[in-house]
Amino acid sequence: MTDFDEYGAYESLSLDTDDHRWAFGTGFADPLAGIDVTVPAGVDAAALARQCLALGDDALIYSHRLQQWVTRAPELEEETALANIALDLLGQARMLLTRAGQAEGNGRDEDRLAFFRDEREFRNVRLVERADADFAELTARLLIFSAWRLAVFQALTTNEDPVLAAIAAKAVKELTYHRDYAAGWVIRLGDGTDLSHAKMQAAVETLWPLVGELNLGKEADAALDAVFAAATLTRPSAVPAATVAGKAGRDGTHTEAMGYILAELQSVARAHPDATW
């Protein structure tokens, strides 16, 4: 048997000249390395690229929003949860953006897509752009987003593109845990004190106009209704947020928050596009 303790896995990193750590400029490793990434015959590559880009952008931007809670969450346990959820979504974003670049066929990799596109080229829904006003909004949005994304990915597990189907099958397990974590908080706060109930109801009302853009299916609807009922919350009936000449997030039309997110997300990569360290 080989000696386990002579050097740990992390120690071997310092000896590794080809550093794969996750920071811009350290040399990314392709998250789909070794997988057959040929787009199967009969699959519309352009449509596949658009679909992967939209779902990847949702995950990338929402992950960024969740990461902003790190060092600011009310308790260490919740901070750990939010960081882990953000990490899962970032992993999904990396694979989906990589797949989008492959299907597109113009040689753009995940870095190119994440750091060097302008606001109008992003295809995420507007729900993920908002800055959370409080913990009620944070957990309500996480519930809505996870329940919706879970249903979307469940359907994608049988997609005709085997790579997208595999990414989806993996994500389904993660999203289930995210949804159930968020549901726990929505119920605890919704069915809590008068103050927590009022704040949770207000959070759901605030977010609801952005839900129209998601096209919630039957399953996501049912999951949300079950949580709202357990949380003694009233399902909002707010009208969908206005579009701009019929365009919304999926068309590249975003809220004011999006520019600030991209400024933070992209500034280092854009200022030092060839940086390595």
Binding site: T2, G8, A33, G34, E77, N84, I167, E174
Partner: protein, 159 residues
């Protein structure tokens, strides 16, 4: 000479060094074609940052074992499940004070669940435990505490 499989299977998980990637079911395949070895690994969670550390460690250990040409391939399908953790892996986890997972939820529609599966304390065996946090130091674990011996412990979530 150590076989390529033996060298690959000895790689410890960076976050759970008491178990190997073979114990965890992360190591999917080791193939030797002439002097080229292809090692296939699968990520536990989509964002698992340990994948790169594992790949780096695989390259080093195989090189030390005399295998110069090593390719590391990723496999996504079927997705990793805690059901692939071997009996030996579960024993090692429990011996290190980490409760091993129960059986994973089967694929298919996922009903909303607000209760956690029962977890036994890896220290005293009591079934009277409570969840402290649904996530822990790594994505694959949750934090629990035993109501009998009061010890906090980590638990590898069914996945």
């Amino acid at each position: 000479m150590v076989t390529a499989y033996e060298a690959a299977a000895a790689v410890p998980d960076p976050e759970l060094p008491m178990v190997t990637i073979a114990d965890l079911g992360i190591l999917r395949d080791v193939r030797q074609d002439g002097d080229t070895v292809t090692v296939t690994i699968t990520p536990t969670y989509s964002g698992c940052p340990a994948m790169r550390e594992i790949a780096a460690d695989l390259l080093r250990r195989l090189e030390r074992a005399g295998y110069r040409h090593v390719d590391i391939a990723t496999e996504l399908s079927p997705p990793w499940t805690t059901d692939w953790i071997t009996a030996e892996g579960r024993r090692k986890l429990a011996a290190a004070g980490i409760a091993p997972p129960g059986r994973a939820r089967p694929a298919g529609p996922v009903p909303l669940t607000l209760t956690r599966p029962p977890v036994s304390c890896p220290h005293c065996g009591s079934a009277a435990t409570r969840e402290i946090a649904p996530f822990s130091a790594t994505a694959c674990k949750a934090l629990y505490q035993c109501r009998e011996c009061l010890e906090p412990f980590e638990y590898v979530k069914e996945f």
